[in-house]
């Protein structure tokens, strides 16, 4: 199936604008359930590949889907659609913040939202953790990386360098 850049742009604009509290669930809903461009398995496999590279996963997903259905121009269209409208919204909100950010009530609202926001990040982590329960030895790898990063507060490079050999070893056995 081939799709025009315009169609990819519009679809990803809708995905970006509906993505309150994380875009990924909305991308899945639009691409798998509504448009049916991808099957559920194809979506998971694609997302797995997107998580292999550093950087924002949802943007990586837009590149993959855009490229698959519309080539290089499709990839640009999908990423542009995903980013442009939300960027406009967030900059407008920042302008409002410049005017009203001093008020104690406004600061209170933002404090409340960030406490929720960090909970959303943690919840995503726990959901991802659930998938790892299918092979419990991997939990050791995860526990070690958390301890190194939080208790010993080592820089990320060290966390990856220390954890990666064990991670590869356990993953090799899991893949067998």
């Amino acid at each position: 199936m081939r799709l025009s850049p315009a169609r990819l742009f519009i679809t990803f604009t809708f995905i970006g604008l509906s993505g309150f509290g994380g875009v990924l669930p909305w991308a899945r809903r639009a691409l798998v359930e509504q448009k049916q461009w991808l099957s559920s398995q194809e979506f998971n496999a694609l997302l797995g590949v997107c998580q292999l590279v550093p950087g924002p996963n949802i943007v990586n997903l837009a590149v993959c889907v855009g490229e698959r259905f519309g080539g290089v121009r499709g990839a640009f269209a999908a990423v542009g659609g995903l980013m442009l409208a939300p960027m406009t919204v967030v900059i407008l909100l920042a302008l409002l913040y410049d005017h009203y950010g001093e008020f104690e009530r406004v600061q209170g609202i933002l404090r409340g939202i960030s406490s929720v926001g960090v909970g959303l990040i943690a919840a995503t982590g726990f959901k991802m953790l659930k998938d790892e329960l299918t092979y419990p030895p991997m939990l050791i790898v995860i526990a070690i990386s958390i301890v190194i990063a939080t208790i010993y507060q080592l820089a990320l490079g060290w966390v990856v360098a220390i954890t990666l050999p064990l991670a590869l070893l356990v993953a090799w056995r899991k893949a067998r």
Partner: protein, 174 residues
């Protein structure tokens, strides 16, 4: 200004290259770079921008957009966003083709499994570190823990939570 913009672009591009598990997984590192090392933004504004990016629709990486906006206005916002996106866009474009061709199934799976395990560890560690930085009192921690349970146990939209956080904050509980 030009030097500053160039520095922003390069620093955030490098940040993007190490951001396994997404931008939020490395939020503490982003905080360290933009508050402590470069002074693009003060600690309080960083936390407020994080909240604005969470409350607005769109990808989590919008926190980065706002950091650029705070330091250098519209040009900063555009360049910061571009910086955090382009390295992974190019990597994934080629990696997708390589992986499609990769024949040895066990190697392919080994790479995928270890990457996903590392990502889980980084996301959880990041949430922990960010919670320590932003939560000022016990009520804030209670709200964070409630948010985690809400997402894990309920099917309702997280937007309800953001509304709840805003209301509790408005009345001065957080």
């Amino acid at each position: 200004m030009m030097i500053g913009l160039l520095g922003l672009f390069i620093k955030l591009s490098l940040f993007s290259l190490i951001a396994f598990g997404g931008v939020n997984a490395l939020l503490p590192t982003l905080y360290d770079i933009s508050v402590n090392q470069e002074g693009w933004i003060d600690p309080q504004t960083f936390i407020h921008y994080f909240a604005i990016a969470q409350a607005a629709p769109g990808p989590n990486l919008l926190t980065v957009t706002l950091i650029g906006w705070n330091a250098f206005g519209l040009a900063g916002a555009l360049l910061a966003t571009l910086a955090v996106c382009w390295p992974s866009c190019i990597l994934i474009f080629y990696l997708q083709q390589v992986i499609a061709k990769l024949q040895h199934l066990q190697w392919k799976k080994t790479i995928e499994y270890s990457a996903s395990a590392l990502a889980v560890g980084l996301v959880l560690a990041s949430a922990w570190q960010i919670a320590i930085r932003i939560n000022g009192n016990w009520a804030a921690y209670a709200l964070t823990i409630f948010s985690i349970l809400f997402v894990l146990l309920s099917k309702r939209h997280p937007l309800y939570l953001i509304g709840l956080g805003a209301i509790l904050g408005f009345f001065g509980f957080i």
